[in-house]
Symmetry: C2
Subunit: 242 residues, 2 copies
DNA sequence: AGAAATTTTGACCAGTTGGAAAAATGTTAG
DNA sequence: CTAACATTTTTCCAACTGGTCAAAATTTCT
């Protein structure tokens, strides 16, 4: 039964070419892999794009490989050839995400003028919510679930960055160029208000109706937030209470 | 073992009492069902409580009946006796939620003083984020997924309420008791900033560290938000630009 | 062209999932 | 007590899940 080399009488059925079966594509995480062909990069990008779509809607557990494969336009085993585990895809998305996600805050420059700096930080964040809503939702989904797969990144990279920028904000306040306020909560409030437009998009759409949802919506939001963060809602003449 | 009075010659194996099998508990949705016994209400509450825990963390698709049953301390079929479908549980949670969720906004009274009204609306919302974080996350999860199961409630009840309160805000602005600003985005920004503390709790915790996370955190947030919504971040002496 | 490597497919699998059926076990009113 | 009802447990299932594997198809390299 085992393939004994029967020199003389080949059964003539089934070519039996002992082609070596294809191994899995070298894992991206491990150290010294080939430079990746163009096809490989393209396919991986298609998968990541599809995965972003699906993960951002359903969260990690709610998303299925089949779904992702279908959106990516390929078969499940084929997808698994490029990413041997579901978690792998998610991890790739998340770490790429965190990088772009923190970029706007990184750009806030302590040597700049506080008010314009904050103003443009808000605008950049709002632009991201408009242009990359799926990334925002992916992030939100992960947060809602307790960030099981990125908690350490949050606790290190994100936290350090926020600490650093909180110091910058504090310095500005000391200099009297910014109202005194808790810098951490200040940052939170910028995140919250801007990401809201991506994460709660359905709600925003439903409330604003079709009219107020077109081109102008983004500008309306930007204008409002600018006003809020600059002057608040108290009428112009009002004095601070205490 | 079973107390069969063996009159003649019962086969002695398996009593075969043809007791009618128990049907499912009458669905809550349908019209004329019994008033529900105390036990039924208790069990349903246990299930809903457990379901809230699980759904709020994993979303609808990510949550499993087994998980919910385990948290509720009962078997899966037993749970299914009270709620014949997974969706049923979710629907119950969501509709109960929306009611409480909108209550704070409903309370905003047009006959009151604008500034204190808004201030206490913010505080109530923040208290809800603190006291009912799971409800907040359940809601957020649903939104992230496109609100497939409550879109109509959003489009009707929520929208109407917001429209109504937007009018109130506008009137206040006309009277000069409130700065002119888009009332819809104003409401969004209150939702966003307050719910952020429930939905992104992990992140907030990670960033603030263990120190700034205890008793004081809520008060810090409340104080900051109050300042933000009242006066914004521009330093005290600054004039509005345009 | 032909060998070698890469990519794709189809068949398959074990574990999980939502749910059904029915039997077993209470509980309660007469 | 006991029939009728309510609740719980046991058993089971079909569909779906993440993932494997080897063969087949395709591309790449010489």
């Amino acid at each position: 039964m085992p393939p004994n080399k029967v020199k003389s009488a080949e059964p003539a059925v089934l070519p039996v070419r002992p082609r070596r079966s294809g191994g899995r594509l070298a894992a991206a995480g491990a150290g010294k892999s080939r430079p990746l062909t163009r096809i490989q990069r393209e396919k991986q990008d298609m998968i990541l794009e599809a995965a972003l779509e699906v993960f951002s809607m359903h969260g990690f557990r709610g998303a299925t490989i089949d779904q992702i494969a279908e959106v990516a336009g390929m078969s499940k085993p084929n997808l698994l050839y490029y990413f041997p585990r579901k978690e792998e895809i998610h991890r790739r998305l998340i770490s790429a995400l965190l990088h772009t996600w923190l970029a706007p805050l990184k750009e806030m420059d302590e040597r700049g003028d506080p008010i314009p700096e904050i103003r443009s930080y808000i605008r950049r964040k709002l632009e991201m919510a408009r242009d990359y809503p799926r990334e925002s939702r992916l992030f939100a989904n992960e947060m809602l679930q307790g960030a099981p797969r990125i908690i350490e990144m949050i606790e290190v990279d994100l936290r350090n960055l926020v600490d650093e920028k909180a110091q910058v904000l504090l310095a500005w306040m000391e200099e009297g160029k910014l109202a005194h306020a808790d810098p951490y909560h200040l940052i939170f409030s910028i995140w919250a208000t801007t990401q809201h437009y991506a994460d709660f998009d359905v709600q925003v759409r439903a409330v604003l109706g079709p009219d107020r949802n077109g081109e102008g919506r983004f500008e309306d939001a930007a204008r409002y937030l600018e006003h809020l963060f600059m002057h608040g809602l108290a009428p112009r003449g009002a004095r601070a209470a205490g």
